[in-house]
Symmetry: C2
Subunit: 102 residues, 2 copies
DNA sequence: ACGCTATTTAGCAACCTAGCTAATATAGAA
DNA sequence: TTCTATATTAGCTAGGTTGCTAAATAGCGT
């Protein structure tokens, strides 16, 4: 599956979009993320797996906790590419880093 | 359903994203759009209905043809809002018009 | 009215998604 | 090893999505 498709499908779910916004403030454990929602831990775990497979977040293990962190460049690059392809005059965007092929 | 959810779900399908790109060059009839894909006319018609219900495109009837036109501000506003909420430092964006509540 | 073209709507099948609970890792402490 | 805490994986169900074909609608010319 193409990276853009993985990313846009990942962004299609409101819980996942909220997780990304929550991670904007810094990394959080899976449990801390789950506690912000009224859905079960396993369901959040799957949302995290989907976000991770789209490279929108990354994980770091510390003891038996897993910290998740936002990867804003992936989001900005892919979504920015799409926006510039569809409505370039409405938006000015600037890359922070070279786009990497994933 | 919230506008953002309708829009991100509409963007989740690659055929619909391609339709938006195709409309960037100007308005097209339903038939002209359908002829660019290998899927059936009725399927394209539904994709167009989904894009229209998300206010990403608008339609104009001329005789028995229906012309579809891109609504780039809707896309830029909603997606831009999300990007600025999640990764503001990666992207600079500028509104062309006030956001309307739909 | 009739025919022709353009397009949508209806109805169906296959697949995907997101939620749940129960079971299974993983890591550290006693 | 056993216990506890954290988190994921497995297996299931309900509902949504996307494709198809066939039928209906819309507009215009004859």
């Amino acid at each position: 599956m193409r990276a853009a498709s993985r990313i846009f499908r990942a962004l299609a779910d409101p819980t996942r979009r909220q997780i990304l916004q929550d991670l904007k403030g810094g990394e959080l454990t899976a449990g801390a993320i789950a506690s912000r929602f009224s859905i079960s831990g396993p369901s959040i775990s799957r949302h995290l797996a989907i976000l991770k497979s789209a490279d929108l977040i990354s994980e770091r293990r510390d003891a038996n906790r897993i910290f998740y962190r936002l990867e804003p460049e992936q989001i900005a690059n892919t979504v920015g590419d799409f926006l510039s392809a569809v409505c370039p005059t409405q938006l000015f965007y600037r890359r922070r880093a070279k786009r990497s092929k994933t």
